[in-house]
Amino acid sequence: MRVLRRLGPTVLAPVLAVVVAVVISALVMAALRVDPLRVFAVMVDFGDTPTQQMTAVVVVLNRAVPLFLAGLAVAVAFRMGLFNIGVEGQYRLATVMAAAVGAAVALPGPLHVLLIVVVAMAVAAIWAGIVAVLKVTRGVSEVISSIMLNFIALGIASFLLTGPFRGSPEGASIISTAEIPRSGWMPGLNGVFGLLGLADPPRQLYGFLLVAIVVGVGIAVLLGRTRFGFDLRATGLSPSAAQASGVDSRGMVVKTMLLSGAVAGLIGMPDLLGATHAYTTDFTSGLGFLGIAVALLGRNSPVGIALAALLFAFLDRALVPLQIAQYPASVITIIQGTIVLAVVVSNEVARRIALRSAERGGAAPAVAAATGDGSTGPGQTADGAAVGTGAGVGRTAGAGQQTTTDARQETGA
């Protein structure tokens, strides 16, 4: 019971959101005289043959990897109370630069890939850094500046693609950068299927999946287990309190945005290294904005974001079979939209439940025992810690775990 109460708000909110979204979508479908049960059956049907099923799994995973990275990039900033809306521009600019650099050099395999990835991370981090510098020096809201920088980034990316980085012949209908030589490609992971005794689908599973997992674990450890992570979350809760207890909050803004940007730079890498090998006029766009939804649904915890990314990828895959089965594809759009809305609402509901149970249980800080990465802690004493003075934040390292909840609630508020 106690475990349930502790985990309650954390798990409850996203699950509730998904359930509400499914119910609303079912009602909409019923109103449109479409049988919701059969639609859901089509959505979970991955095909008849093992090869078809594995292809579907690969499609979902390949889509989930960039979504996960996008969610992570947004979440890192969210945890500190910063809204990095600029992820979109950061990854597009990073990908075009990385593609151009990758095509221009020839290096032995792993080094070549590493160079491309490092360039992407650096470019995106610098672009995000502009937002941070504007914020700490001039007090410009990061929401406004990052949105504006999106437009500039897209413009620059377009200029670079059509101008200096153009690699496609004149008159080709799709403009692209020069192709990255083979040493800069990242091999797929399909060999793993053979080892596990599964069918080998024609589609390649992105090797970048492994990198994404490493990055996810790294971010979880960084946020939950390090001094930097604690400072980040504390600053997110109360910049003044954090500053009073010795955290350089301006420095934290810059560092956090650089980190968020560096992760954002990775978003385009799965596609670039695993499939397209060039940046083109129709390179996948909009992932930065989808990342905001994914981060919201995952409540800014790496595990939650991974699950949210898988859910969005699963919904996305269902588009094609639904249309082949003559069902409206807008069902998926409705579900995705209602999930985002429901998450925002249910986060607030969960916060109130947590607050009420805290009031009932009295101000017992012990109840707020920390969980794993600190991102899934309950909210019982959250307000107490946040309202507290600098001493309140600095008292114990453990307090950090309590405070994170508040950060999440604020983002969801």
Partner: protein, 350 residues
């Protein structure tokens, strides 16, 4: 104050995220074809972003398929891509995998993926509207259905130049891609052929790589309004779904506009907007698709090459609904004759 700012920020973030979710994929539903007699013909149609119901390009393809089904029987399954169109390859693979034949992809954006899919399914016949087989690596089972947009646009430019009273016309492009630049090149050449000293404003709604320009009437209206305010009295648009904004700007300025792809005088509902549409540059996607399916049924598809629909084949041309260009028809016919006979070679790049 601080809390307020935060709430605002969250709302902003949320709405952006929602917008990202809810974007383009408008009425991307699919419906079963009208093939009552259920012939063996199972046509697979894969749309570009915008999907069915755009009253323009995608709908023209549907009209072609419907006409073909009426004649030959059969059914059609229509697929729209996801919001960011990252699953184009999946659409084609699924269609080929499920036994649809022929499979028709609508839009040049399929060039990148259709080559691979065509090679994976050598027994399936593919066609791509607006796509050159050379861009897809010349697979032998792919036919490119391409149009001489520059020729039709030349006539549109000539019509604008003959009709302008300000000696000043404009062009609004959706996205600055090579395809839309063909429209621009033809239009400017046509206008200059009539009046060498004419001023032609050219502006694109979004740069290459940002496809929002095809679906953003508000920005199209701002761009076109700027041209009318700057002295232009006729503006031609090649901006897909954004074009309605150009008509709105024309109506607001009491000037005229030229539509694109389909006969927009017929497809626009608002009578106030109808009145400003002087003519439209027709791009007969429907004819091309219908012809292709007919050839497939008769077993006459060669494959591995482009079929060019130009002025000589009536693949492009000007619409006459509304009667606003009736008085200059003889001059336009003259230009058309000069193009088809080769006396005038219309440039394809600006």
């Amino acid at each position: 104050m601080k809390a307020n700012a935060r709430v605002m920020a969250v709302l902003l973030a949320g709405s952006t995220a929602l917008a990202a979710c809810a974007s383009d994929e408008s009425s991307g539903g699919s419906s079963s074809g009208s093939g009552e007699n259920g012939g063996d013909l199972q046509i697979g149609l894969a749309f570009d972003t915008g999907g069915e119901g755009d009253r323009s390009f995608n709908d023209a393809a549907v009209a072609g398929v419907d006409a073909a089904i009426k004649e030959h029987g059969g059914t059609v399954t229509k697929l729209s891509p996801n919001a960011d169109a990252s699953n184009r390859a999946d659409l084609l693979t699924q269609l080929a995998d499920q036994g649809f034949d022929p499979v028709i992809a609508v839009g040049f954006a399929y060039s990148e993926v259709i080559g691979d899919v065509a090679q994976q399914y050598p027994d399936v016949t593919f066609a791509q509207v607006d796509g050159h087989v050379a861009d897809a690596g010349n697979p032998s089972n792919l036919t490119g259905l391409v149009f001489a947009e520059e020729q039709g646009s030349f006539l549109a430019g000539a019509a604008a130049a003959l009709k302008t009273e300000a000696n000043h016309v404009g062009f609004v492009g959706g996205v600055q891609t090579p395809l839309i630049q063909k429209f621009e090149a033809g239009y400017v050449a046509g206008a200059k052929a009539v009046k060498p000293d004419i001023t032609v404003d050219v502006q694109y709604i979004s740069p290459a790589g940002d496809f929002t320009g095809f679906n953003d009437p508000a920005r199209a209206q701002i761009v076109a309004q700027g041209m009318y305010d700057g002295g232009a009295d006729i503006v031609y648009h090649a901006a897909g779904g954004s074009g309605i904004g150009v008509f709105q700007a024309a109506a607001a300025s009491d000037e005229r506009a030229i539509g694109v792809d389909s006969d927009q005088y017929q497809t626009v509902d608002d009578p106030a907007l109808k009145a400003v549409i002087m003519t439209s540059m027709l791009k007969r996607v429907d004819v091309a698709v219908d012809n292709f399916i007919g050839e497939y049924v008769d077993g006459n598809v060669t494959g591995g090459q482009d079929e060019v629909y130009d002025l000589a084949r009536d693949g492009v041309g000007l619409a006459t609904s509304g009667g606003q260009i009736d008085d200059i028809q003889t001059q336009l016919d003259d230009y058309e004759q000069q193009i088809t006979s080769g006396q005038i070679t219309v440039p394809t790049t600006p």
